[in-house]
Subunit: 206 residues, 2 copies
């Protein structure tokens, strides 16, 4: 579902290039802008007390980033370009007035937020699962387009996937290997394929 930047927004935004690792904003900065990713990848991070980075969100081409800025006086976490990226920078007051005046855009924005919310809840669901294998299965099933094809093309490295799943990359490698040995999944390059195991005659219990 990658978006085009809605036409009315194009007039109000300016394009900007960011280098890999460059910060878009820091936690506590006045929230002035919302972003739209044309290319590259940006991430929202918050650093835990031990200095580890916690990945809050990844935005890829065709997605908005830091939408919450509209509702919020300050950024609540750090935004960085994880790869060299081209972004549309949208001053939030323009966005706000557009939402007030453009019926169609307002609807589009609503639907965008709803989808993001659903994606976030899916991720919550995934993180609540115990066991790396379970999370992998959930990931393939829920990221696969519309749950029809149990197959995902990975967008980044396996290390990135590990972060997404909330496990160490070692645990992910091992689990993938053993699932593959068990014939439960296949890997072709950067594509993960979940073979539905016939198994598991379930008892639909209350």
């Amino acid at each position: 579902m990658p978006f085009e930047l809605p036409e009315p927004l194009q007039r109000f935004s300016r394009l900007q290039n960011y280098d890999r690792g460059e910060m878009l904003f820091r936690r506590g900065d006045p929230a002035r802008c919302v972003f739209f990713v044309h290319s590259g990848e940006v991430r929202m991070l918050r650093s835990g007390r031990a200095g580890e980075d916690i990945l809050l969100h990844r935005a890829r081409p065709g997605e908005f980033f830091a939408e919450a800025a509209v509702e919020c006086p300050r950024y609540l976490c750090d935004g960085i370009a994880f790869q060299a990226s081209t972004l549309a920078v949208i001053p939030k007051n323009h966005l706000a007035s557009l939402m007030d005046n453009d019926r169609g855009f307002s609807r589009q924005w609503n639907s965008l937020l709803t989808r993001e919310l659903r994606a976030a809840r899916a991720r919550i669901e995934r993180l609540a699962l115990s066991g790396v294998a379970e999370r992998i299965r959930h990931f393939i099933a829920s990221e696969g387009r519309d749950s029809s094809s149990a197959e995902v093309v990975l967008s980044g490295s396996l290390k990135d996937l590990a972060r997404d799943l909330g496990v160490t990359h070692e645990a992910l490698y091992r689990t993938l290997a053993s699932m593959q040995k068990a014939g439960e999944i296949d890997r072709k390059g950067s594509t993960l394929i979940l073979k539905l195991v016939p198994a598991q005659r379930g008892k639909p219990r209350p």
Copy 2:
């Protein structure tokens, strides 16, 4: 920030009581209605393959429930009343037309979604932390109103909290006990208080 049900919606909704354990909808049902919780508690659950229930979302008095129904032809998970509850049932077509026609309401709805999204991301952040103690600290810090008071009044049982944190209730009990013994937190009835330990002269490292 518990909401009152926005006035224009009151005319389009009907009140309904649900018993504890009663289902509002099942996964796959045509998505016809959005809900607003007046009292009680409702939950979105999806059942994993082992029959365990995965908690996707809890809605408490003053919150909307199943907002995604507006965007979606079918419910994607189960909705049940976890306690006896009084809900406003809002046909989604009414909601949609209200969003199209009532500027103020549309804005309110946007801001609602944005806040929910932020809450969901906070929960993701929490689940990505390793160690029960870390999650508890994060929970107290982020649920505490506006991060000013490091203190939370638990809305449900500790078992519920354990689910929220993605750990077993045993692990939660133990960790709470040891944190209390260490003087890091206090418990008064159903209130958790995080004492900020002076410790941790941090080195702000890149």
